[in-house]
Symmetry: C2
C-alpha cells in the first residue's frame, strides 16, 4: 500500500511546476531512467514501444514515397567532418571524439556522428555517376550524439534516436520538391498519428541548419505555451555536392552537381506527446502509438470467474493492443497506474458486471465512464479509440489556437510573451538585427515563417520598416 | 553494353578463390560499400532490407516469449566497464575510446559499447528490488564497436548491427532455461527463415564469452567448409550480479542475487547466408528474407502491351514482394542481374508469352525453367517460393552432412582438416592443453560440444586419455 500512495502522490501538478511535472511523468510512467552516463538516458519498454510505433508509421510512409533504408558508419573522420565549412562550424563544438582504438591512439581522430551529411556525401561521391543513378532516396534509423551542456529526457539528450533521410537529385526543383514533400509527410504524421497539430513553415537564415540553403520546420505548441521544433527538412542546394564533388553525367552528357536534401525526426517527439496531451494524472497517449491501447482491470479478481472473464475479453479484443492487469495490486492502484501510463481505454470488469453481461469503459482523455453490453464491447472499444484519437487532436488544436496571439508593436509583443505563454504572430522586416533584438527583449525566437502567411500589419514589429514576412515567435524547448 | 559484361565477368569463381568470390558478391549484389572509416561498411539498400527482414522475424519471435525492447546508452564509462574482471579483460583491448566531448576533455573516458552487459547490470542494480520485478526480459537493437585488426564485410567489421538480449531471473534454473530457450529460438530461426542448418551445442571454457558461466552456440558450415558461429546465448549465473550488486528480496524476504543471461545475433548472419547459399552466379536468397522475392522481366518491352502486362502481373502477385525491371537494359543483362542479386523467382514475359497466355518462371536455386498459364501464376509462384525455401535448407543440410567427418586419431584429424574442409567430430578429454594442441597442429578450433552427443571412441583424439565429450572441430571465420 505504501507503493500505491507513492505512485499517485509523487506527481507534481503541471500548474505548479510544469518542468517537474514533466520529469515526474517520464519517470512514473516508466518511459525512461537516468543512466550512469551523464546526459544519456535508458529508454524503458514503454518508452521504446512508443518509439517503435512512431518508427513503424513513419517508415511505412517513407517507403511509400520510394525511400530506401541504409546504414552508414557511426564514426566520421575529422577530415571528412571539415569538408563543408558551415557544417563543421555548426557541429564541431558539440561532438564526442574517439581518439583511441583498443590500446593504440588513432592516426586521425573521429567523432561519433552528430548527423550524417558528411558520410552520405562521401558515399554519394563514389556511388553516383550518371543521371540513371538519380534520385537517391536514402534514410537511416540510428542514434546520434551531441555533447549538450544541459539535458532533459527526450527533449535534449547527449545521445538520441532518430531517422535521417538524405537524398540526391538531378535538379534544384526536384530537391526543393522533396524537401517540402517530407515536411508535409512529417506534419501529416504528427497530426494523424500523434494527434499533434503543427505549424508548417520555413526557418529564418539565423535558425537554419548548418550548411543548408533552406530549412523547413514543423512547430508544435506544448501545454505550457512553449514551442517545440518537431521535425525539420533541409534543402542543401548543391553546396555539399561542391564541397564533396558529387557529380553526375546528365542526359545531355554534361557533368553536373547533384542537389541534396536531408530531413529528420527524433525521440524528441515522445517529449512532445507528453507535453501536448499529458495531464495531472500522467501520460495521455494517442491510441495510434500507445503500446497498450486497452487495459482490462478485473475487480474482485479473486472471485471465481472474474479473471477468466478478463482473459476472455482480451480475446474478444484481439484486434487491439490489450493487456489484462492481473497483478495482485488493488483495483484502485491499477486505475491510477493505467492513467499514469496513458492507456487510452480502461475496461473494468467485476462479478456484478459479469452477472449483468456488461463492462465499464473509462476514457483516459475525458475520464468519461460508459457501461456497455459485453456483446458490443469490441465495436464500442474500436469506436472509442477512434474518437479519442480525434478528440486529442481537436483538443490540442483548440489549445494551440487559444494560445496563439498577434502583436503589432514591441510593447504588445513583450506584454504578450510575459503574460500569455504561447505563439506570437508578428510581422518582420527580414533583418537578423530585429530577430536578435526580439530575442533579447522577450526571450522568444523566430519559430518559422509559416507557409500560410497572414497580413497582420505592414511594418516590422521591431524596427517599423516595411515587413516582408509574418513570423511565428515563441519561447522554445 | 560495357556495363553488361562487367557485371557478369567480374565475379570470381568460388572454386578458384572463395574469399574473392565472397568480396565480389557483397559488392556486385550491392549489399555493401566500403567507407572512409577503415573497417566500417556502408550497408546499401538490399543489404539493409535483408537485415530488416531478419530483424522482423527475430523480433516477432522474441516478443512471443515475453521479451521487451529497450535502449541503453552507447557509451560505457571506463569504471563501469571494469566492474566485472573477466569481462573487462575480454573487451578492453578492442574498444574505441571517447576522450573529448566538444572542445573539452572528459573527466572519465568512455568506450563505445562493444556489448552492453555492464550497462544493463548498472540499470538492473537500480531497477530490481523485489521478486515482483523479475524476470526482466529485455533486448535492444543497436550497433556495437569492436576495434578488430583485420576486417571483412558482415563477417568481422569494426562496427556491426545486432540485437543483444539481457535477462535477469530469480533462480539459476530459470536463467539456464532462458539461455537454452533463446539458443533454440536462434537455431529454429536459422533453419526456418534463413534456410541454414546449424549445430546446437555448448562452447568449451576456452571459447566461452568473457564473464559467462556457460556459452551456448549455433554453428553453421559455409560452402568452403569453414565454420561460422551464428549466434550465442550466455548464462552468467550470478557473477555479474555480485560484481554489480543486483539483489532482490525474494518471497521468503531474503536478499538474493539475480541470475542473468545474454544472447545475440548480428549482421554476420548476412555473411552466412551468402556463403551457405551463394553460387557462381552470385547471391541466392531464401524467399523468407529476400527483399525482392519475384522479379518480372519484360522481354521486348518496347512492343505494345508488354510493359502493361508486366505491371498487371505485379498486381496479380501482390501477396509477394515483387519488382518489375523496366529499366532500359537488355533482358540478358536483367537476367544476370536478378541472379547476382539472388532474387528467388524470375518471371519472363514477352509478346509471344502474352499471345499464349503464359509466362516463363525461372528458379534461382536450380535454374529450372517452368512455363505456366497466367491464370495459375499466383498459385504457382507461391508454391515455388515455398519449395525454394525448403530446397535451400535441404541442400545446405546435405552439403553440411557431406562435409562432416569423424576422426579417432590425430593423424586422421590432421589429414581430414588438410584434405577435406568441413567439420571434424572427435572425442575430447576436457583439457585446454589438448584444445590448444589441436589448434596448433590443425588450425581447427573447438566449435561446440553438441547437445546431440555421439560416442565416436572412448579416448581423447589428442592425448588418448578417457574422453568426456564429443566435440565439433573446424576452421572458422
Amino acid at each position: 500500500m505504501a507503493n500505491d500512495k507513492k505512485l499517485v502522490e509523487a506527481i507534481t501538478s503541471m500548474d505548479v511546476d510544469f518542468a517537474q511535472w514533466y520529469t515526474d511523468v517520464v519517470k512514473k510512467a516508466e518511459l525512461i531512467d537516468y543512466s550512469s552516463v551523464k546526459g544519456c538516458m535508458v529508454i524503458k519498454p514503454d518508452g521504446y514501444a512508443i518509439w517503435e510505433n512512431i518508427q513503424r508509421e513513419l517508415d511505412k510512409r517513407f517507403k511509400e514515397t520510394g525511400v530506401q533504408n541504409v546504414y552508414m558508419p557511426m564514426f566520421i573522420p575529422e577530415s571528412l567532418l571539415q569538408k563543408e565549412k558551415d557544417h563543421v562550424e555548426g557541429f564541431a563544438p558539440e561532438v564526442a571524439w574517439v581518439t583511441h582504438g583498443g590500446l593504440e591512439p588513432l592516426q586521425e581522430r573521429m567523432c561519433v556522428r552528430p548527423t550524417s551529411e558528411t558520410l552520405f556525401c562521401d558515399f554519394y561521391a563514389r556511388d553516383i555517376h550518371s543521371y540513371r543513378d538519380l534520385p537517391k532516396l536514402y534514410n537511416q534509423w540510428c542514434s546520434v550524439v551531441r555533447w549538450e551542456k544541459t539535458t532533459r529526457p527526450f527533449l535534449r539528450s547527449r545521445e538520441f534516436l532518430w531517422q535521417e533521410g538524405h537524398t540526391a537529385h538531378a535538379t534544384a526543383e526536384e530537391a526543393e520538391e522533396r524537401t517540402i514533400q517530407m515536411l508535409n509527410l512529417y506534419a501529416d504524421s504528427c497530426e494523424q498519428v500523434l494527434a499533434m497539430p503543427v505549424i508548417r513553415g520555413r526557418k529564418t537564415d539565423k535558425e537554419k541548419f548548418a550548411g543548408a540553403e533552406a530549412t523547413y520546420t514543423i512547430e508544435a505548441l506544448m501545454h505550457d505555451g512553449k514551442a517545440l521544433q518537431s521535425g525539420t527538412s533541409h534543402n542543401f542546394g548543391d553546396g555539399f555536392a561542391k564541397a564533396f564533388n558529387i557529380q553526375f553525367s546528365d542526359k545531355d552528357n554534361k557533368l553536373k552537381y547533384v542537389h541534396q536534401t536531408s530531413w529528420g525526426m527524433t525521440t524528441r517527439l515522445i517529449g512532445a506527446i507528453i507535453m501536448v496531451h499529458g495531464d495531472n494524472n500522467g501520460l495521455v497517449l494517442p491510441p495510434a502509438i500507445a503500446p497498450v491501447q486497452v487495459v482490462i482491470v478485473p475487480v474482485q479478481q479473486q472471485k471465481a470467474g472474474v479473471l477468466d472473464k478478463a482473459y476472455e475479453l482480451k480475446n474478444v479484443l484481439s484486434g487491439f493492443r490489450v493487456k489484462v492487469d492481473d497483478t495482485d495490486k488493488s483495483p484502485g492502484w491499477k486505475f491510477s497506474e493505467s492513467e499514469m501510463r496513458g492507456i487510452p481505454v480502461r475496461v473494468e470488469i467485476g462479478p456484478r458486471d459479469i452477472e449483468n453481461g456488461q463492462a465499464v469503459l473509462v476514457r483516459r482523455d475525458t475520464h468519461e465512464k460508459i457501461t456497455v453490453a459485453l456483446s458490443e464491447l469490441d465495436v464500442k472499444v474500436g469506436e472509442l479509440l477512434k474518437d479519442i484519437q480525434k478528440n486529442l487532436l481537436e483538443k490540442a488544436r483548440s489549445h494551440r489556437d487559444a494560445h496563439t496571439y498577434t502583436a503589432v508593436t514591441m510593447d504588445e509583443f513583450e506584454k504578450t510573451i510575459e503574460e500569455k505563454p504561447g505563439f506570437v504572430k508578428a510581422m518582420w522586416c527580414g533583418c537578423q538585427e530585429c530577430e536578435d533584438k526580439i530575442k533579447e527583449l522577450t526571450g522568444a525566437t523566430s519559430r518559422c515563417m509559416p507557409f500560410a502567411q497572414e497580413q497582420i500589419s505592414d511594418k516590422c514589429v521591431c524596427c517599423g520598416k516595411p515587413a516582408v514576412k509574418m513570423v511565428y515567435w515563441g519561447k522554445a524547448y
